[in-house]
């Protein structure tokens, strides 16, 4: 039915239905919350150490029941008169086992034996023996027992039972080795164990291990065995108890989502489930659960002493002289890096993107190169170039200016040294963001300026620069946040010269006092929040629409007489910040002795390359890194695009919440993200992703998603909404408009954003060190392993390898997509 079919004045029932649906959802959430709470109470009464216990016990209980019905019961009955004796034997063995486990255990058995059916005691012996046999049977003897042919098994089992009751009977051949020369109750125990093994060949160590893991306390084990034997489990109760936290969380989040949805609908007076809102809620839920909740748990530790709210932790940390110095250094370093980085990035982006400079493509690749290697590797290269004693640049300068043997004149182990290294590594963040936007800029405004008689320089100053404000702000923010929360560079360049930053202090604290580390990280969180708010304020004042049509070809500014000198200057900069450090990394990887020139006789070698790439762990680490980084980048970009669209294209109330959370994550020091995830994602809030690839991917997304989002937002903010509106007016739906208009226009930025998340995730170190397991080791950690203990040469080898992989990947995708898909 078309909309026009509705009679004028007829009221739609949709709002009412929507409101009822919302109310129902809200109550469903409340019910889940209540059930989860009840489940929690049940769990805490059980004394089990983990909720997994219920799952394991339930599974073992069903298994035991099935065995009793299908095997034990029949076997016992076959013994005729002796069945009674066997039941008594089971009770006696169970008593003795119980007594060994806990004092008073035997009386507990006799209670069961007297009050309950003896069947329970016999059943009870099976799981108890499976988990804690009084005597062990080694694997080879176990193999003998299970080797009995299928047809003879029943007879074999009955013989075992009879032997347990009568020690004069000869043992079956297959069980003789297991029983050995044991006598008395030991012999009986081993025979019963052999019986159980034979009856249940499939019982594997995994069941036992799972049971032990979930029921750690011995007292609780007794209760567990009892519950298994009695098999009194209600599947629904078991589900609620085992998933209590998840059920509660689901309930709470459903309620919160409903409240948010209601607020959206109320503010827009639009009573329907808009897909945009649902998308936003999805992203918000992800961020709230994986980022905000862990951070709040950490913050609670900071602001609480013995469970009560207190500022004591903060006071002690923020009055420490070194910490204050570190705060000062961090602010100076991050601010200087931001200013310097943006001052470098803007002219470079302009020259490379908008002028007829020679070798623009080459320069473009050169300027983003430093983004493609781990910062700590770059720091190592700068250490070799600028250390005051024998740094190559210093040696050169001392030679040129005849300064003698005194250290210097440059010293990397200082605050300016730190700023320089940070700048060389983080200016590409601004360069990439600005140059993308510049390529998408509408040239008509600049052309108008030129036609009106303004010089190229004045045009840049009065037209280009203001139009670039959102991208400049986004780029600058990225540089600031990255520099402030960076650990690798200050740890290598700063610490040896006693230049501490907040991150180096956090890591030092974390090894002894985690709460102090968290208290210190509050500063970085606060700083990143302030910068986030500031950066949002700047573009909010004006509209900076720079793309108004699809076929945009920015005007190329002719540099005329400046073309050669500017090319030379840009080239010199490229050589200095990219080629020299990378050449240092490459030559170091080809040296035997790091102290000598690569050209010294006998010092040139490929051994490091051979060793690094034949290391048995390298393929696994490379694969892990590629997969984790690709997943983080892809999911991260889906979220970023969603948020970018909602932020720029809608007036949705609360649309800045996810963007705020994304920026908060980016400003959080890596070590804090990792610690908070370890503390909260281990099942205590219903999700256990500890030691899995998921926890690494989640951590990478939290840390680096802002790179993607900022790129998308800045690109989208430059595309006039009229383009989408014309598409909608022409009859295209929302998805078609996105597919045919918006996405093609922002695609290069999406691709750049993808890479901006992919690359740092690929070689990430700080979080990976803490979150990786033996199976989820990444190439970044491998490199760090080489760097810390093997040799600088090996780490440089892997670093150069990483660089080659990333560059090749970038080139390959660029080729495949005809230049549309690359940084």
């Amino acid at each position: 039915m078309k909309r026009t079919d509705r009679l004028p004045g007829a009221k739609s029932k949709a709002p009412l239905i929507t409101k009822i649906a919302l109310a129902l959802l809200f109550f469903a959430g409340a019910a889940l919350l209540f059930m989860g709470q009840r489940g929690r109470e049940d769990f805490s009464r059980s004394e089990y150490s983990t909720e997994d216990a219920y799952r394991t016990i339930y599974a073992l209980s069903r298994h035991t029941d099935a065995l009793w019905e299908n095997v034990f019961k029949g076997d016992f009955a076959s013994l005729g008169e002796e069945e009674k004796d066997l039941r008594a034997l089971c009770a006696s063995l169970a008593s003795s086992l119980w007594d060994r486990q806990a004092e008073g255990g035997a009386s507990r058995i006799s209670d069961i034996f007297e009050k309950e059916d003896s069947e329970d005691v016999c059943k009870l012996l099976y799981p108890a023996y499976l988990v804690n046999p009084p005597k062990k049977i080694n694997p080879s003897n176990r193999k003998l027992i299970v080797s009995v042919p299928e047809k003879e098994q029943r007879e074999f089992r009955l013989r075992l039972l009879r032997c347990a009751l009568d020690d004069t009977l000869p043992l079956p051949e297959e069980a003789a080795a297991a029983v050995g020369d044991s006598t008395g109750s030991d012999r009986q125990a081993l025979l019963m164990l052999s019986y159980f093994i034979s009856a249940n060949k499939d019982a594997v160590g995994e069941d036992v291990q799972a049971f032990k893991q979930s029921v750690r306390a011995k007292g609780a084990q007794l209760t567990a065995f009892e519950e298994i034997a009695r098999g009194k489990f209600n599947p629904f109760r078991q589900f609620v108890v085992t998933h209590a936290s998840a059920v509660m969380l689901l309930g709470a989040m459903t309620m919160a989502d409903v409240i948010l949805l209601f607020a959206f609908m109320l503010s827009e007076k639009l009573w329907k489930f808009d897909v945009k809102w649902l998308l936003m809620l999805l992203v918000v839920d992800f961020l709230v659960f994986f980022q905000l909740l862990p951070l709040l748990v950490m913050l609670w530790r900071v602001f609480s002493v013995d469970g009560a709210f207190s500022f004591d932790n903060l006071k002690s940390i923020y009055t420490d002289k070194i910490n204050l110095e570190a705060l000062k250094n961090t602010l100076i370093a991050a601010f200087s890096t931001m200013v310097l980085g943006t001052l470098i990035a803007f002219p470079l982006a302009f020259l490379v993107g908008r002028t007829n400079l020679y070798g623009k493509k080459l320069f473009r690749t050169l300027f983003v190169l430093t983004y493609m290697v781990p910062p700590y590797v770059g720091a190592m290269a700068w250490l070799r170039l600028l250390n005051p004693n024998v740094g190559s640049v210093n040696v050169l300068l001392r030679g040129i200016f005849s300064l003698g043997d005194t250290p210097g004149p440059l010293n990397v182990y200082t605050l300016p040294g730190l700023v320089w290294v940070l700048t060389t590594f983080y200016y590409p963040y601004a360069f990439i963001t600005i140059s993308r936007a510049m390529e998408k800029m509408d040239p008509s405004l600049e052309e108008a300026s030129r036609v009106s008689g303004a010089s190229p320089f004045m045009t840049v100053l009065k037209v280009t620069l203001p139009m670039m404000t959102p991208s400049l702000a986004a780029g600058a923010l990225l540089v600031f946040v990255a520099a402030a929360s960076c650990y690798g560079i200050p740890s290598i360049v700063g610490i040896p010269g006693s230049v501490h930053t907040v991150t180096t202090r956090i890591v030092e604290y974390g090894q002894v006092r985690i709460d102090d580390a968290t208290a210190l990280s509050v500063f970085l969180l606060a700083v990143s929040l302030i910068f986030l708010l500031l950066s949002d304020l700047i573009p909010a004042k004006k509209k900076y629409i720079t793309v108004s049509g699809k076929s945009v070809t920015p005007t190329v500014v002719d540099l005329r007489a400046w073309r050669v000198p500017l090319t030379a200057a840009v080239g010199l900069f490229g050589v200095l910040v990219a080629l020299v450090p990378f050449a240092t990394i490459l030559t170091t990887s080809l040296k035997t002795d790091i102290g000598k020139s690569v050209f010294t006789a006998g010092n040139f070698t490929f051994d490091n390359w051979k060793a690094a790439f034949t290391d048995r762990e390298t393929p696994m680490c490379l694969t892990n890194s590629l997969v984790y980084a690709a997943v983080a980048a892809t999911v991260g970009m889906v979220f970023s695009c969603t948020m970018g669209y909602l932020n720029v294209r809608t007036q949705l109330k609360g649309r800045s919440i996810p963007a705020f959370l994304i920026a908060l994550g980016s400003g959080t020091p890596s070590v804090v993200i990792a610690l908070s995830l370890i503390m909260t994602m281990t099942g205590n809030f219903g999700v256990d992703i500890h030691d899995t690839a998921t926890i690494l991917i989640v951590a990478y997304m939290i840390k680096y998603m802002m790179m993607g989002m900022r790129t998308v937002v800045s690109a989208m903010s430059q595309i006039h909404v009229s383009l989408e509106e014309s598409s909608r007016i022409s009859g295209a739906g929302w998805f078609t408009t996105m597919r045919r208009v918006t996405v093609p226009l922002i695609f290069p930025s999406v691709a750049a954003g993808w890479f901006l998340i992919f690359i740092p995730s690929f070689y990430e170190l700080s979080m990976t060190t803490m979150l990786k397991s033996a199976a989820t080791k990444t190439v970044g950690f491998k490199l760090y392993e080489y760097w810390t203990v093997t040799s600088q040469q090996m780490s440089c080898t892997l670093a150069f390898g990483i660089l080659l992989i990333v560059v090749l990947l970038n080139l390959l995708l660029s080729r495949l997509t005809k230049g549309r898909f690359s940084i």
């Binding site: 150490s49 062990k136 080694n138 694997p139 080879s140 160590g205 036992v208 291990q209 032990k212 893991q213 750690r216 530790r301 070194i322 110095e325 070799r384 250390n387 004693n389 024998v390 740094g391 250290p407 182990y413 740890s491 610490i495 040896p496 010269g497 006693s498 501490h500 030092e508 974390g510 090894q511 002894v512 985690i514 035997t592 002795d593 790091i594 102290g595 070698t605 696994m620 610690l675 370890i678 503390m679 909260t680 281990t682 099942g683 205590n684 500890h690 030691d691 060190t769 803490m770 397991s773 033996a774 199976a775 080791k777 392993e785 810390t788 203990v789 093997t790 040799s791 600088q792 780490s795």
Partner: protein
């Protein structure tokens, strides 16, 4: 003939002993994960696989989960703070101070080592919660190839820890690991401040010591001539020397200085996590492996990994090193109780006197 006879005897003994040992270790099963800060662990990993055929390593195929001691401690503290089980069943960490903490917090399961008192060169926990399993040796090192160049600059190569910190010619030319990141560097600071008082830290500051995050960074400073001497673990230099020798280099450009005022021996410990907190609830297997690590056979692998053995009956030394008992005689003692109880104070003094 004598050689042949002794060979036959040894072979007979070995063949006789093998089935017995195998039978015992065959009973050990289940999964096991060991957190270690020992970098060269491959040989020991392989040996455990052979020795305990029914024991399953972690998902990566290795029993060992490696991390530099500082990073591992950070990870373990995070796991402890989460109030959950740890992700390992055993520890082989750098120094005993962390063992004292783990014991006090109830994370460790006591186990017995037969004749421990007679066979071990170093003290162990009286309740059996930790035993030394390898010895890291903190020494000084220099680059003999640059002797002439340093002499020209008037820089003296230190002979002792005292020289290292107090000889003014070394100002700006010395480096050590950051004690706030490295367990063994922290142990060294505990020993040196015990011997020379906190003034030793003032001297280090006066001599503008650089403190690095890693041994390999310090080695590169020595090779490049950025530093004249570094404080480093002997094993890093010995490994370098053997690697050089394997490359056919007769004279190495790095050498160990065994300080005249004594080396600092750090008996790295092995611990079994109690079932209440362990990953796989497999303390029996962990105990068996820990006990095996103190056998002569396993200790030989420790020597191959460039560390000294803790077992008296193992008389060999790591590649190109000196007699272990001789080192013990001249070692600067480390008060592990102080290292644990006064960690905050000692690291605070480091901050105050060196970092600021």
């Amino acid at each position: 003939m004598k050689k042949l006879l002794s060979f036959v005897l040894v072979a007979m003994l070995a063949l006789g002993a093998l089935p017995a040992a195998f039978a015992v270790n065959e009973d050990v099963e289940g999964e096991l994960v060991i957190y270690t800060s020992m970098y060269v662990y491959d040989m020991i990993d392989e040996a455990i696989k052979k020795e305990f055929p029914n024991l399953t390593p972690g998902v990566s195929g290795s029993f060992f989960a490696y991390g530099p001691s500082g990073d591992l401690m950070l990870k373990v503290r995070g796991e402890m703070a989460a109030g959950r089980a740890l992700d390992c069943d055993m520890f082989m960490l750098a120094e005993p101070a962390f063992s004292l903490e783990l014991k006090e917090k109830g994370y460790l399961e006591p186990f017995e080592v037969e004749n421990a008192e007679e066979i071990l060169r170093f003290p162990y926990d009286e309740d059996g919660c930790w035993y030394p399993v390898r010895v890291c040796n903190m020494v000084l090192a220099y680059n003999p190839e640059l002797d002439e160049s340093w002499a020209k600059k008037g820089v003296n190569i230190p002979k002792s820890y005292k020289d290292f910190a107090s000889d003014p010619t070394l100002k700006g030319y010395i480096s050590m690991n950051n004690p706030k990141k490295s367990g063994t560097a922290y142990a060294a600071i505990v020993a040196l401040t015990d011997k020379y008082g906190y003034e030793y830290l003032d001297l280090l500051r006066q001599n503008r010591v650089m403190y690095d995050a890693s041994g390999s960074a310090a080695i590169s400073k020595l090779q490049s001539g950025e530093c004249a001497a570094i404080m480093i673990l002997e094993e890093s230099i010995l490994k370098y020397m053997e690697d050089e020798a394997k490359r056919g280099k007769e004279v190495t450009n790095l050498k160990v200085i065994y300080p005249e005022d004594g080396v600092i021996l750090i008996p790295s410990t092995v611990m079994v996590v109690s079932d209440e907190y362990s990953k796989n609830v497999n303390s029996e297997a962990a105990k068996a492996v820990a006990q095996w690590l103190l056998t002569d056979e396993a200790q030989q692998l420790i020597l191959d990994a460039y560390m000294h053995s803790v077992v008296k009956t193992v008389s060999g030394v790591p590649y190109n090193s000196v007699d272990t008992d001789g080192l013990i005689e001249n070692a600067i003692p480390v008060d592990w109780e102080r290292a644990y109880r006064q960690e905050e104070e000692i690291k605070g003094e480091w901050d105050k006197r060196v970092t600021q």
